[in-house]
Symmetry: none
Subunit: 223 residues, 2 copies
DNA sequence: AATAATTATGAAGAATTTATGCAGATTCTC
DNA sequence: GAGAATCTGCATAAATTCTTCATAATTATT
């Protein structure tokens, strides 16, 4: 589960963004003060920061810069204008992406997902749960001594599920996370990939039924 | 631990770059004068030099040239413009890579890492993985008693892949590492070289399919 | 037990990605 | 400069993956 720190001095904006991110299973910490936001990044495990540029107590650039002095957490800057100079400034200071207001849900979610994926790909190259290890360098799944090669979609599905064992993901959530948010892919396509996955697992003699489970009426989970 | 010498007459830039490199456990020496920078390379153990072109006391090109008279330390040039003529000039003088401002953290870190890895590989003249040995002096690949002669591009591709077995490299990564970063070479050219490689391997009766693998939708790997 | 809703499965075709062959451009060697 | 080797780009064939849809099987509801 990802924890996102939202920093903006307008509370309405915080609530709005939280509304967008919650359905993806992300935990949001809402903060109106730049100084406090920095403390939170220091103390808590934050996976991504959404940072408004204009704030009363402290400039967003300054907050970004100070965070960068001790942390590489992915940062997305929010700004009213869409200005090339701003963009360059932000990237130099260490921001990873940049969204100009007003933005819509799709755009926000797509960028947050993209950045989370990029950064998690970078630092975690292996995800282990019990006897299973997902290797993000080779896009393969290991169980004891055996290995199966996954396709891209299979990989992203398993990665989503295994990153948070026993959490049930709806097909819609899986589409949002493993596909692009803007995808118009049929929701039942998820079933097909699950099917293919189960077959691969079965052929490799992995104890699949125990791990890749259907939660009737809701979706799928790994445990 | 690597020691990086940063040379730029803007102190803010020095601080910024140090901020990027410190989290990687690299020690930075910050220097605003070109002349002093040369002395530092002479006296201290420096693993890589990040050198700005525009400086007050001495032209960056000149600094690069003088360093090359006594040292092979890897040098990355920093420049405001992104100019092909500049690039050629720099590479002729002996720079190893070239970054144009403004750059972002990811780019900088990626290039510094890539160059450090490349240059540390140079010390080792042979890279061995299982029954394969890549000879960096003769640009050839050995398997048991047989040998095949590689072209430059083939060599860099195999070297990249074999240096980190089973890691899947995208075509883009291969272009960045085996070619220059600024290359405008078509991404599919990688396929052509892979094809030629496989043919060479096959003709020499090397068990190629087992080692040089396609990872569908992503790229290639060696394992 | 009958009905409704949901999921699993199979199979076909669409879409995407990779392999291959070839020609022309470029670089290197003599 | 000529000739050879290497590199690049493109078109097309081949392979793989993805998506959709129809139907069977399963689970829930009444």
């Amino acid at each position: 589960m990802y924890t996102i720190l939202l920093v903006d001095d307008e509370e309405r904006m915080l609530d709005l963004v939280e509304l967008f991110l919650m359905p993806l299973g992300m935990k949001c910490i809402k903060e109106t003060s730049g100084k406090k936001a920095i403390e939170i990044v220091e103390k808590e495990k934050v996976n991504l920061v959404l940072l408004d540029i204009m704030m009363s107590d402290m400039d967003g650039w300054e907050v970004c810069k100070e965070i960068r002095e001790f942390s590489n957490v992915p940062i997305i800057m929010l700004t009213a204008r869409s200005d090339k100079a701003d963009l360059a400034k932000g990237l130099n200071i260490g921001a990873d992406d940049y969204i100009s207001k007003p933005f819509d849900e799709r755009e926000l979610v797509a960028r947050v997902n993209a950045l989370l994926r990029r950064s998690s790909d970078l630092d975690k190259s292996k995800i282990t749960y019990l006897d299973y290890t997902l290797d993000c360098d080779t896009y393969s799944l290991h169980y004891h001594e055996s290995t199966i090669q996954l396709t891209l979609k299979e990989f992203y599905i398993i990665k989503t599920l295994i990153s948070r064992p026993s959490k049930t993901y709806t097909r819609e959530e899986l589409l949002n996370i493993a596909w692009d948010y803007e995808t118009e892919t049929d929701i039942r396509t998820v079933d097909s990939h699950i099917r293919n996955l189960r077959e691969k697992l079965r052929k490799a003699n992995f104890p699949t039924d125990e791990f890749l489970k259907t939660v009737w009426g809701i979706g799928y989970k790994w445990n």
